[in-house]
C-alpha cells in the first residue's frame, strides 16, 4: 500500500523534476498513517509518514475535521515509541493539528510525563507543545512544573517555559503573573537567550506598573546584560521610560540618555543600531543628543552589508523629516548610495537627499537623479516623483528646474502608475504655484501629443479646459487640443471637444474660431463626438450670432455632476428594467453617498511614531467634502465651503464605536461631519445622530441636523449637525457631544438583524472650534514680492514673550499650528542649533482676506522665547484678529 518515496532509477536522469514528494496525494498519505496503529511500531517509517503529512499541511493542504481527528488519535499512539526522532515529529504534528479541548485531554498525561522526563529535549518540547494546546484549567495543574522549568539549569528548558509564559500571558494573565519570582531569577541567568526571554516576560508582567518598569530598567542598565537581543529589548524599555518621564527641566538632561549613548559603543551592530534608532526618535531630541547617533549611522552607510546600509539610510531618512540639518553631514555618503546595487537603498538615499537639500543644492541634485532614474523600477520612480513634488512646494522659486525635470521624465518610457504620478505632481504644482501654471500647462500639452494612456489624456484635457482659459494667452492651447480631435481615439476626441467648448464659453474673442472647429467635429465617425459637438454648438449659440454665454451654460459646462455615479447607474438600470412612457428624471436619483471613502484605514498595530503621516492630496479631499455636503439639500443654502478641518478623533482607539469629526466652515454656518464606524460585528445601529451641547459656544445656534439611517458593522457612515454663527466672524467655542442610536442585535452567521432595537447613547469627547479653523493654508511663491505688494497700510506689529519653551523649533511649530497658516519657502524648518529664527506664513482668512505673517523668534540661554509678529493683510480688522489669536493662544 505504501507509495515509494523515491523511484531511484527513473529520476536520477531528470533532476529538475525530482522531488521526494512527487505525486504525493492526501488520501494515500492518510492511508499510510495507519502504520501508527501497528502493534510493532516502525519508528523510521512513522517519521516519514509524519513528514509527508507535514509536507501536505505546509503546501496549504487542509484536513477535514474527521481526518484531523483520526490523524490526531493515531499520532497519540506513537508516544509508546522511545525513538527520540519520532517523538520530535510527534510534537510537531500535534502543534500543527491544534487539537480541540476534548482531544487535548488524550495527550495531556503523555506530555506531562515528558515534562518531567530526564531528557532535556523532551522537557523543553513537551512544555512548548502543552502550553500551546492547553486551556486555563489544565494550566493550574501544570503550573508547578512550569515554575520549576523557568529556573531549570538547562537553558533550552528554561527558554521553552519562558516563551510559553509570554504566549500564555495573553490568555491567562493571572496565572502567569504568579511566576514573577522565578522569572526574576531567570533574568539573572548566565545563558544569554534565557536572559532575553526572561526579560521579555518580566516586562510584560509588569508593563502596566510604571514604577516597576522604571526600577527594572534602572537596575538592568547598570548591570550586565549578556545577549544582544536582551540588550535591544532593554533599549526599547528604556526609551519607553524616557518617553513617560520627560526631560529634567532644571538641568536639561534626559534620564538614561547616557545608557543609550553607551550602547552606541556596544560590540554588536544590532545593539548599536537599536540605540541609534532609539535616540533619533526621542521626543524633542536636541542636536547634541542626536550627533553621536547620526555618527554611527553614517558609518553604517558605507558598510559592505546591504542590511546595515538599508537600516541606516532608512533611519536617517526619517530623521531628515524632522531634523534635516542634522543629516546634512551624511550627504556625501548618501550621494554615493545613489548608485547602490540595492535599489531600495538608492531610493531612500535619493529621497533623504531631497529632504535635506537646500535651495542651492537642488540643481546639482536633479542632475544626479536624472542619471539614476533611467535604471530603477517604476515603483521607486514614483517615490522619487513624490519627493520632488514636496521639494518644489518647499522651494517654489526652484519650480523651473523641478518642472523641467518632471516634464523630461514625462517624455521617457514608463508605465501608467508612474506617468500618472508625474501628471498629478504637475497638476498640484500648477495649482499651488501660480507662476508655474503656464509652463506646466504647456508641458502637459506636449505630453498629450504623444500619450498612450487614454485616461491621462482625458484627465489632462479636462484640467486644461478649466485652467487654460484663465491664462494670459489661451489661444496657444487650441492647437494642442484640436490635434487630439484629429489624431486620437473616440474617447479622447470626445473630451477634446468638451475642452474646446469650455474655451469657447469663457473667451468670447475665441468663439468664432472655436465654432469652426466644433462644426468640423460634426462629421466625426463616432456618435459621442458628434453628439457633443452638436450639443455645445447649440448651447453656445454657434448656429446664430455671437451671444454672451449665459450662466446656465457655464454651470452646465463647468459644474460637476452632484450625484454619485453609482446611484446614477442603479437608477438608470432600474429605469431600463421597468420601461415607462415618462422620460428619466435626474432629480429622482438619490444624492446620498452610500459609503464614505474618506475615512483612512489605519494600519493595525502601528505605533504612532509621529514621523510618517504623509500629507494627503489637499485638493482632492476638499473636493470630496464639497461633493458630500452639496448632496445634502439642507446645507446647499449655506453657500461656498470655506474650509474643512482635518478629522478630530472623538473616541479612543479601539472602542466599540469610532467617531471623528470634521469641521466645515461656511461664511455664516459651520457644519460638523461626524464620521462614525461601528466596530461590533453583532450590532446594527439605526437612526444614528449626535446631540451637541453648545452651551460653551455662545455665538453658535443649532439650525439642523442630518441623522444616519443605519450604520452596519465596519461600514463608515456620516451624520451631520449644522450651526449658524455671525457672518464673517471667527466665532470660537467648545462643543460636547453624545452619540444616540438604536441598537439591533445581528446574527453574525446569517447577517440578519433582529426587528426590535434598544435605544442607547455613547459619550464622545469634546472638541472646539478655534480661530485657526477660519484660516486656509494658501502658499505664495515669492513671499517678499507678495509682502511688498500688499503694502504696509494694514500692517500690525507687536512683540510677545512666550516664556520658557522646550526648544525653538517647538515654539515655531506651536505658533504655526495656532494660526493654521501655510509656512512659505521652507521657513518652518528650524536649524537645530540656531538661537533665532524667522518664519514666513501665508493664508486666506474667512471672507477671502489674504494674510501674510512674518515671525521672528529668539531664544536665550534659559530657554525663554521671545517673538515678534508682523501681519499684513487686506483688512485691518483681520490684522488685529491675528494678533488676538496669538495673544489669547
Amino acid at each position: 500500500m505504501a507509495q515509494p518515496l523515491v523511484k531511484k532509477d527513473d529520476d536520477r536522469d531528470d533532476e529538475a523534476e525530482y522531488s521526494p514528494f512527487l505525486g504525493i496525494e492526501k488520501g494515500a498519505v492518510l492511508q499510510e498513517a495507519r502504520v501508527f496503529n501497528d502493534p510493532q511500531l516502525d519508528a523510521r517509517r512513522c517519521s516519514q509518514v509524519i513528514t509527508k503529512l507535514l509536507y501536505l499541511l505546509n503546501q496549504g493542504e487542509t484536513f477535514t475535521k474527521i481526518e484531523a481527528t483520526e490523524v490526531f488519535f493515531s499520532v497519540t499512539k506513537l508516544f509508546q515509541s522511545r525513538d527520540i526522532g519520532l517523538r520530535r515529529m510527534v510534537y510537531l504534528m500535534i502543534k500543527e493539528l491544534s487539537p480541540s479541548a476534548d482531544e487535548v485531554i488524550i495527550v495531556t498525561s503523555s506530555l506531562m510525563k515528558d515534562m518531567n522526563s530526564r531528557t532535556d529535549m523532551y522537557r523543553a518540547n513537551a512544555i512548548r507543545v502543552l502550553c500551546r494546546i492547553t486551556d486555563g484549567t489544565l494550566l493550574t495543574q501544570i503550573e508547578r512544573y512550569l515554575k520549576q522549568a523557568i529556573v531549570d539549569k538547562n537553558p533550552v528548558v528554561a527558554s521553552a517555559a519562558l516563551v510559553s509564559g509570554i504566549h500564555l500571558l495573553q490568555t491567562n494573565p493571572e496565572i502567569v503573573k504568579r511566576w514573577s519570582n522565578e522569572v526574576q531569577e531567570a533574568v539573572q541567568s548566565r545563558a544569554a537567550l534565557v536572559q532575553f526571554h526572561a526579560l521579555a516576560l518580566l516586562h510584560q508582567i509588569r508593563q502596566n506598573d510604571r514604577l516597576a518598569v522604571s526600577k527594572l530598567v534602572t537596575s538592568l542598565t547598570k548591570g550586565t546584560v549578556r545577549s544582544p537581543l536582551a540588550q535591544c529589548l532593554l533599549i526599547r524599555y528604556t526609551s519607553q521610560v524616557i518617553r513617560e518621564s520627560g526631560v529634567n527641566t532644571q538641568t536639561g538632561d534626559r534620564p538614561f540618555y547616557d545608557y543609550l549613548e553607551g550602547c552606541l559603543r556596544h560590540k554588536a551592530e544590532m545593539v548599536i543600531f537599536e540605540a541609534a534608532r532609539a535616540i533619533t526618535v526621542l521626543s524633542g531630541v536636541t542636536t547634541r543628543e542626536l550627533t553621536p547617533a547620526i555618527t554611527v549611522l553614517q558609518l553604517f552607510l558605507s558598510s559592505s552589508k546591504p542590511v546595515l546600509r538599508f537600516a541606516a539610510v532608512r533611519t536617517l531618512n526619517k530623521v531628515a523629516m524632522t531634523h534635516p540639518m542634522a543629516v546634512t553631514n551624511c550627504n556625501i555618503d548618501m550621494e554615493s548610495l545613489i548608485s547602490d546595487q540595492n535599489r531600495s537603498i538608492a531610493t531612500l538615499a535619493i529621497t533623504t537627499l531631497l529632504k535635506t537639500g537646500n535651495e542651492s543644492s537642488v540643481d546639482r541634485l536633479m542632475k544626479q537623479i536624472t542619471n539614476f532614474m533611467s535604471d530603477i523600477a517604476d515603483e521607486f520612480k514614483i517615490v522619487v516623483v513624490d519627493a520632488i513634488r514636496s521639494l518644489c512646494l518647499k522651494f517654489p522659486l526652484k519650480y523651473r528646474s523641478l518642472m523641467n525635470f518632471l516634464s523630461n521624465i514625462l517624455r521617457e518610457e514608463g508605465g501608467f502608475e508612474y506617468k500618472k504620478a508625474i501628471v498629478d505632481s504637475i497638476v498640484i504644482l500648477i495649482r499651488d504655484i501660480p507662476d508655474a501654471k503656464e509652463s506646466g500647462l504647456l508641458h502637459l500639452c506636449e505630453f498629450i501629443e504623444d500619450c498612450e494612456f487614454t485616461y491621462l489624456s482625458t484627465q489632462i484635457l479636462h484640467f486644461l479646459g478649466n485652467e487654460g482659459p484663465k491664462t494670459s494667452d489661451p489661444s496657444k492651447y487650441i492647437r494642442y487640443i484640436y490635434n487630439r480631435v484629429i489624431l486620437e481615439n473616440a474617447t479622447v476626441r470626445a473630451s477634446a471637444v468638451s475642452t474646446l467648448a469650455k474655451f469657447g464659453a469663457m473667451i468670447d474673442s475665441l468663439k468664432p474660431r472655436i465654432f469652426i472647429l466644433l462644426r468640423r467635429c460634426l462629421f466625426d465617425n463616432d456618435d459621442e463626438v458628434r453628439d457633443r459637438a452638436t450639443l455645445y454648438l447649440n448651447t453656445l449659440g454657434g448656429d446664430g450670432s455671437v451671444v454672451e454665454t449665459d450662466k446656465d451654460v457655464k454651470e452646465f459646462l463647468f459644474g460637476s455632476l452632484d450625484i454619485p455615479l453609482t446611484n446614477m447607474e442603479t437608477s438608470l438600470k432600474n429605469y431600463i428594467q421597468n420601461p415607462s412612457e415618462e422620460p428619466f428624471d435626474i432629480n429622482s436619483v438619490p444624492k446620498e453617498v452610500k459609503s464614505q471613502p474618506l475615512v483612512e484605514k489605519k494600519a493595525p498595530g502601528k505605533k504612532p511614531t509621529g514621523l510618517g503621516a504623509p500629507p494627503t492630496g489637499p485638493a482632492s479631499t476638499a473636493d470630496t467634502y464639497e461633493r458630500i455636503l452639496s448632496s445634502i439639500p439642507e446645507f446647499t443654502s449655506f453657500g461656498k465651503l470655506f474650509k474643512s478641518s482635518a478629522p478630530v478623533e472623538l473616541t479612543e482607539a479601539e472602542t466599540e464605536y469610532a467617531v471623528n469629526v470634521v469641521k466645515h466652515i461656511f461664511d455664516r454656518h459651520v457644519v460638523f461631519q461626524y464620521n462614525c464606524t461601528n466596530t461590533i460585528p453583532e450590532q446594527l445601529l439605526e437612526n444614528v445622530f449626535v446631540i451637541v451641547d453648545a452651551s460653551e459656544a455662545e455665538e453658535f445656534s443649532e439650525v439642523g441636523s442630518k441623522p444616519l439611517k443605519s450604520l452596519p458593522y465596519d461600514t463608515p457612515g456620516q451624520t451631520f449637525v449644522a450651526f449658524e454663527k455671525p457672518e464673517g466672524v471667527p466665532a470660537v467655542g467648545k462643543f460636547s457631544n453624545m452619540l444616540r442610536f438604536t441598537v439591533k442585535e445581528v446574527d453574525t452567521s446569517t447577517g440578519e438583524a433582529e426587528d426590535d432595537g434598544v435605544e442607547d447613547e455613547y459619550q464622545l469627547e469634546d472638541f472646539e472650534v478655534v480661530a485657526a479653523d477660519y484660516m486656509v493654508k494658501v502658499g505664495v511663491s515669492n513671499f517678499r514680492n507678495a509682502w511688498e505688494s500688499m503694502g504696509p497700510d494694514f500692517e500690525r506689529i507687536d512683540e510677545y514673550g512666550l516664556g520658557p519653551r522646550e526648544s525653538l523649533a517647538e515654539s515655531v511649530n506651536t505658533v504655526i499650528n495656532l494660526l493654521g497658516m501655510q509656512p512659505c519657502e521652507g521657513t518652518e524648518v528650524v536649524p537645530s542649533n540656531s538661537r533665532s529664527h524667522s518664519c514666513l506664513l501665508s493664508g486666506l482668512y474667512i471672507g477671502n482676506v489674504k494674510v501674510l505673517v512674518r515671525l521672528s523668534f529668539g531664544i536665550d540661554a534659559s530657554k525663554e522665547v521671545a517673538m515678534k509678529l508682523a501681519v499684513r493683510s487686506e483688512d485691518e480688522n483681520v490684522s488685529d484678529t491675528i494678533h488676538d489669536i496669538v495673544a489669547s493662544g
Binding site: 521526494p20 523510521r44 517519521s47 526522532g85 516563551v163 521579555a200 543600531f273 537599536e274 546595487q341
Partner: protein, 171 residues
C-alpha cells in the same frame, strides 16, 4: 492579533519562508495573522519572490520592503531564504534570524544547500523552523545550536538522511 499588539516592543518575526527557484514552497512558517488564508500566503510569497528574483543575494543577505513589511533574504543555488518582520522592526535582528536559519540549514544539509537535498531532509528543516521562532518570539539565533537541536532528534548521527533510509528500505 491581540498578542501582537501588546507585544509590539518585543522583536517579532512574522514569517520565515524557504522557496525554490520558481518561488514554490519548500517549507514555510507563518507566525502572524496578516495573511489569514492560504491564498493570501501564496500571494505574499509570489510578490516577495518576484520582487527579489532579479537581485543578487548570494554573497550577503539582502533586504527590501513590501506591503509595510521588511524582508531580509539570501539565495543559495536553487533555494531562497526569507525572513519577514514589521516595518518598525530592527532590520539587524531580522538579519540575525535569517543568518541563524541559513547556517542551520547549511549544517543540516552538510553544505549541499539545494532544493532536492532540502526536500529529502524536510523533517529536519521543519524542526529547525520550530527551534528558531516560537509563535513570533525568537527562540534561538545560533545556527549550530539550532541545527544541533534539530539533529538530535534524527538519525543524522548514523549518517543516513531520510531519503537514504527510504532507499535502503526499497533496495
Amino acid at each position: 492579533m491581540a498578542t501582537f499588539l501588546s507585544r509590539e516592543v518585543c522583536p517579532t518575526v512574522k514569517n520565515i519562508l524557504l522557496l525554490d527557484s520558481e518561488g514554490k514552497r519548500v517549507a514555510v512558517k507563518y507566525f502572524s495573522d496578516d495573511w489569514p488564508t492560504n491564498s493570501a500566503k501564496l500571494a505574499f510569497e509570489k510578490s516577495v519572490f518576484t520582487k527579489t528574483q532579479k537581485t543578487n543575494a548570494r554573497t550577503e543577505s539582502e533586504i527590501t520592503m513590501l506591503e509595510n513589511n521588511i524582508i531580509v533574504y539570501r539565495f543559495v543555488q536553487d533555494l531562497h531564504f526569507f525572513v519577514t518582520g514589521g516595518d518598525d522592526e530592527n532590520e539587524l535582528i531580522l538579519a540575525t534570524v535569517l543568518q541563524g536559519f541559513f547556517d542551520a540549514v547549511t549544517l543540516i544539509l552538510r553544505n549541499n544547500v539545494e532544493q532536492r537535498e532540502a526536500l529529502e531532509n524536510l523533517d529536519l528543516i521543519l524542526l529547525c523552523l520550530d527551534e528558531i521562532v516560537d509563535g513570533g518570539m525568537i527562540l534561538e539565533t545560533d545556527g549550530s545550536i539550532i541545527a544541533g537541536k534539530a539533529a538530535t532528534s534524527s538519525n543524522m548521527d548514523d549518517g543516513a538522511s531520510l531519503s537514504e533510509q527510504v532507499n535502503v528500505k526499497w533496495l
